[in-house]
């Protein structure tokens, strides 16, 4: 497979994952905002932006304006439109490599979002819009699994999705969870705290899944444990790394390489950390430091993936 094609597939997948994540998080944010006690909204928008890794955070914050930007500003790299455009552009360059069903779905999703952008008043009813983006992305994933050969290209799509998902998760947790460890359970507003934690779980569609494993008693330690180490929940860090590690192994097989490639070693190390660590290890390292370390490893996987398959130096390839 051409390296350029792998590159486009990987980025198509990352952009789409990012668009979906942003839609889900904004939807939960708006929903939560409907029932906020006076004064408790302070800092929430800042935490949202930090969770989405938006830098720098604007000094003057207006909720409506920020939502408009995060949704429709095509020149804003954090916006849904920007990321959907990125996904579609990457798909367009390799249209003949993906199935026509995949192309039609991603093209349709893109056109619908652009259409909504021009229709005024979407903010009166944001929920159906964000759900539409989420559903479109889910549908695309299903269509991909059902219509595309599960060959190298499919593995690049998988890796792109789970690298992006891991980074999104780490950023969001790092912005939202630490303050709950420091606050005592008897703080002034236990109800607000409870709903903030529920919203955090919902930002990853994890509330229902969490309640099936733990009781709905919202302990930040349990939430961290679930979102980092649960092997079965498809948005946990462990699940992301398990899946992308397995795709990396398939890629090494398909391209007839040894499995001691750097990219496999980095991903394998992260996988074993996530398999054996416990939430106590996280807290003793320091929650933020632990997550920052994980994010660095995700970036290392990305870099090593490109060094091996996509932008490798010519000399290295010729001596193989």
């Amino acid at each position: 497979m051409l390296s350029r094609v792998a590159d486009h597939l990987y980025w198509m997948s990352r952009y789409l994952e990012r668009a979906e994540h942003t839609a889900r998080v904004l939807d939960v944010f708006l929903n939560r905002a409907l029932e906020t006690a006076p004064g408790a909204a302070d800092g929430r928008l800042v935490r949202l932006l930090r969770g989405l890794d938006i830098q720098p955070i604007p000094e003057h914050l207006d909720v409506q304006e920020m939502l408009q930007r995060l949704t429709f500003d095509s020149s804003y790299s954090g916006s849904i439109v920007f990321n959907l455009t990125g996904a579609r552009e990457n798909a367009r360059h390799i249209r003949e490599q993906i199935s026509s069903e995949m192309w039609m779905e991603i093209n349709q999703l893109y056109l619908e979002v652009r259409h909504t952008d021009r229709a005024l008043g979407w903010l009166n009813e944001p929920h159906p819009f964000y759900v539409g983006v989420k559903d479109g992305a889910h549908l695309f994933q299903g269509i991909t699994d059902a219509t595309m050969n599960h060959n190298q290209g499919w593995h690049f799509i998988q890796i792109g999705r789970y690298v992006e998902r891991l980074i999104n998760l780490v950023n969001f947790l790092n912005a939202q969870l630490p303050r709950h460890f420091s606050e005592s359970p008897e703080s002034d507003q236990p109800v607000e705290r409870y709903f903030d934690l529920v919203a955090l779980l919902k930002s990853f569609s994890a509330f229902e899944a969490f309640c099936k494993v733990y009781n709905p008693d919202m302990q930040p330690e349990r939430i961290a444990e679930f979102l980092l180490f649960n092997a079965e929940f498809p948005r946990s860090a462990r699940f992301c790394v398990d899946t992308l590690f397995s795709s990396l192994n398939s890629l090494a097989d398909a391209t007839m390489r040894h499995k001691n490639l750097k990219v496999n070693r980095v991903a394998g190390r992260l996988q074993s950390i996530l398999s054996f660590d416990e939430v106590e290890d996280v807290l003793s390292t320091g929650f933020s430091a632990y997550l920052t370390g994980m994010k660095q490893q995700a970036y290392q996987i990305h870099d090593a993936l490109f060094d091996t398959y996509i932008s490798y130096p010519i000399e290295a390839a010729l001596t193989n």
Binding site: R95, E96, Y312, N320
Partner: protein, 484 residues
Amino acid sequence: MAADHRTDLFTDYRLDARTYDEMFLPDHTPRAHYRGMVERLISYKPGELEYRQSASDLTFLNQGITFTVYGDDQGTERTFPFDLLPRIITHDEWETVEKGLTQRIIALNLFLHDIYHEGLIFRDKVVPYELIASSRHYRREMRGIDVPRGVYVSICGTDLVRLEDGRFYVLEDNLRVPSGVSYMLANRQVAKNVFPHLFSNYGVRPVDQYGQALLRTLRSLAPQVDDLTIVLLTPGVYNSAYYEHTFLARLMGIQLVEGRDLLTHDGRVYMRTTSGLKRVDVIYRRIDDDFLDPLAFRPDSTLGVNGLFNAYRAGSVVLANSVGTGIADDKAVYAYVPAIIRYYLNEEPILGNVETYLLEDERQRAHVLSNLDKLVVKAVGESGGYGMLIGPHSTKAEQDAFARQIAANPRNYIAQPTLSLSTAPCFIDGKIVARHVDLRPYILYGDRVTIVPGGLTRVALREGSLVVNSSQGGGSKDTWVLYE
């Protein structure tokens, strides 16, 4: 007899005394090979043709068979209008076309070899050296380089027109990177799907073997047989013919690559794959000479491959078509093609040329300048209907602008009489009407000459218009060559 066919369907079908009509004789009776078609058309229930037409339009849209229009803000991707009624060519007519095109491509390849080697044709004063040396398509870099089998042009799409006398003439040779063959194949596919009844018992020769024939031609240019990597080099998604590039790559099962997928090392060409670098042997390139290699040609090209031309010159990679073929379809060189055929093959040309005025000649130029309102003026290096003045359809201001350009650079223009292209039946707005058409057959030349029977018939959809280019309101239709 004649009156029988003048049902509602044909009431708007106008014959012009100075134009050859593909379907009707001047007395409105159908030609023998169209008789079956006319009877079938009359037998259909009202609404049947409309229904089939909309079914075919939808097929093109859904399959994304599109082209890109340059200089159009709306942007961009459009379907190429498809006309339902096939254009029919008889066995005998095709035989002449096939022989004529074979003769022409062989002679043009000998010509290219000669002008890049000994230059005998200059010595014998058949073609003036200045004419060649002054063309921007002449590649001095190609002097003395031997190409596989001596074949410079292995893929060609010649534009033919049928004039008043009913004979086919060559209008343009298109020896660089001709496009449109995917529409020939798609038109046939769609026609067979939406209107199978039209085909029954007509004895239509197939065209679907084109992909195989193209692959075979490309293979025959490679030095070895085994472990051969052939790729199609495209300028990318923003090119007007990108759909065709993906279509052909899929048809032949070869990789579709962009310039940035390829690199050269030690005089060899590789493509960058996830499994490492892979050596490339043959490149079917759909990029113009100018953009192939920034080191050899235009340094600002971002589509090409650094060092590709050196690898080509060293013989480690095959390019199809070769570099420097554009010289032979310079519109001023075109005027010499009959002489070129006589010179190399010692035969009379089977297909005629259209009368062409060379504007460097003072007398011809004077004649052209005083008749700009009647003639067609073309820039020698352009194609696709760009850089053209159609005298009878132009304003005085446009004519004056061309007169100034001709005076400034006479070598850059030629003039031809306004041709009366033949008309063929088209189904437009519920009526069958006559529209002007041309014909572009696709010629392949490797170890032998292969021409699939048929080609792309392009249609000027506006009444009276003579411009068939897809970029300027043209459409196309399926083209049938009959077994007998």
